[in-house]
Symmetry: C2
Subunit: 333 residues, 2 copies
DNA sequence: AACAAGCGGTGAAACGATTCAATTCCACAA
DNA sequence: TTGTGGAATTGAATCGTTTCACCGCTTGTT
């Protein structure tokens, strides 16, 4: 079979304990021995057996990442951030797509328990779920990703979605728009709910009228469908704000197909500022979130929680969204 | 700490062997004992330690997925396919981004060995690498993803890149283009090399002149940079074919910024047919690959290889690319 | 010379499951 | 009563690490 510690020890003429030290505490081994053992390890192509290591030490070096859908460019960026940060700390990442289904989410959490992950980074698909306590009881750290928590007994990394909603409406209002359509997904999604809060708050202050257009899934196809509903509104809005860029792309296509000009006839604003916004038919104005940074920060926070569990102070980090103006929004005529 | 087999055994008044049998071979245990032990397990909330189980049995239920970059929409789709298929079989997936660096790739392979994955799905960043043999010797199955292998001793799932290159040039030639720029990455990437073969073969037949413009990384930024090189060519080509859509988006932006009209001044053709092609400034014609299907098929193949290692027949599956014509390519004036 | 301190290194005891040869149990036949 | 065979159960060995008490050896101090 594959070579093990004992083989290396025999070959290098030392004890297994010493080889283990070379691996885990190189500083306590004499340089001469260190080098010899390292050479043997390289020669034999030895890689320690993770199970045995973890069995003995009680801890794995893996974390789970549960997101609604990596295919959503925002989460793709987040995932890269998580992966890069974890890799830097020599952690491996399990990728799980919950598709915003609580059932799938729970199934994945069970799998992650079985895999004995050290921690879990999760974007909950639902605001209330008790499963997390179950994980904690088993000694698995949990940190919330792209979700705020009022509960100070856990870490969270989020973007201020309320502020994002405000920023959007403030921008459109400042351009003179008084009737705005807000195209978004189900309110059960925490981010959606928060953005709506911001939208409504800013609308009240700026005396803007909001027509909410609800879609079931926040993807491009549903955006195109939503255009029919928008065109059927009693009064055609002069600006449209979409819950994310995917939705906005769909809306853009629907509008263009319907013969509307952007931004001359209607201004369009997205959310997430994904990379393709620049290359869109009309370069898309959007609310930018630091997705990659979000992932990196979350992973670092989670891992440090895992490793210093004693004196770890839970942190709730909140990033600020930013308005990025491109060609799709302009002054109301 | 958490309860273990011994605790259960003591509590139920049986030996650890019996408890293990209750878990793994309930049929050999007498009904009376079975029931008693199961009740004890439930009472204590006992969950077997996966490490110990796997250490002894030698097998895990995890696979590794190594791709150049999940942030590339093509691989994002592939990853979703892999994840969905693996999840259906109760396997968990480790996500690894090699960034087309052999060094990173090898580092990740070591990590995967440590994690004792059952199999690895990899898109090699380099055509020649011996590390895979190393994995096989350790009993880890390896299947090639988006890469063909002439070696019938391993599974591979790929798309016919040579044909893709041909399709592209045949399309452009049929529109009357005689000078075509081929914007692509390093030939060390197998897909790139194959597409080039197809390009050259079709060009020869159609009597088309190809100017190759090489970039280091196949992303949007480098596409924009490449435009300078294209504009500096002795003779401006009437069509540009890009190694992937990301590159094409960059080229598109560069061309538009330089005042060129697409497709009137120059036709532009991409590769991968990613979802945003439709929403681009000029809807992008492209060569489409069945990315999600590729991922699903690869994962199923790998897992079946892992589980029936004895009588497993290695398969090399090759999908066919398809031309998708949108607005960015047209007849030469 | 005696002793302490420190460094390198050793090897056996965990970790928590699975496995399997050995043992006990029990019913039934001789 | 003894013997037999099969089913149920046992418990020690095993997987490949990490950890830790302990042992020699060298060096420095008094």
């Amino acid at each position: 079979m594959s070579t093990n510690l004992r083989d290396v020890a025999r070959q290098a003429g030392v004890s297994v304990g010493t080889v283990s030290n070379v691996l885990n505490r190189p500083d306590v081994v004499s340089p001469k021995t260190l080098e010899r053992v390292q050479k043997t390890i390289a020669d034999l192509g030895f890689v320690p057996n993770g199970f045995a290591r973890q069995l003995r030490s009680g801890y794995s070096r893996t974390i789970g990442l549960v997101v609604p859908d990596v295919a959503n460019p925002f989460f793709t960026e987040v995932a890269r951030g998580v992966e890069d940060a974890a890799s830097k700390r020599d952690y491996a990442v399990f990728l799980c797509n919950s598709d915003e289904s609580l059932e799938k989410e729970n199934k994945y959490l069970s799998v992650l328990i079985q895999q004995q992950v050290r921690g879990v980074l999760i974007t909950p698909s639902d605001s209330k779920s008790h499963q997390y306590e179950n994980l904690r009881e088993r000694g698995i750290s949990v940190a919330l990703l792209d979700t705020e928590t009022k509960n100070s007994s856990q870490c969270s990394v989020s973007v201020d979605d309320v502020r994002g909603g405000e920023l959007a409406i403030e921008h459109l209002a400042s351009l003179g728009h008084k009737e705005i359509a807000w195209v978004t997904g189900p309110e059960t999604i925490p981010q959606v709910a928060d953005r709506t809060v911001g939208v409504m708050r800013a609308a009240k202050i700026a005396k803007v009228e909001i027509s909410t257009v609800r879609v079931a899934l926040m993807n491009s196809a549903q955006g195109t469908d939503a255009v029919k509903k928008i065109l059927a509104l009693k009064k055609m809005p002069s600006a449209i704000f979409c819950g994310n860029d995917l939705l906005a792309f769909g809306v853009m296509r629907g509008l263009l197909d319907a013969g509307k000009k952007i931004p001359e006839d209607v201004s369009l604003l997205g959310y997430d500022d994904i990379a393709f916004g620049n290359s869109a038919a009309v370069p898309l104005s959007s609310i930018s979130q630091p997705a990659y940074q979000l992932g990196v920060t979350a992973a670092e926070l989670l891992i440090s929680e895992c490793e210093e569990s004693e004196d770890h102070a839970h942190q709730q980090i909140k990033f600020q969204p930013q308005l990025v103006v491109r060609a799709s929004t302009t002054k109301k005529k």
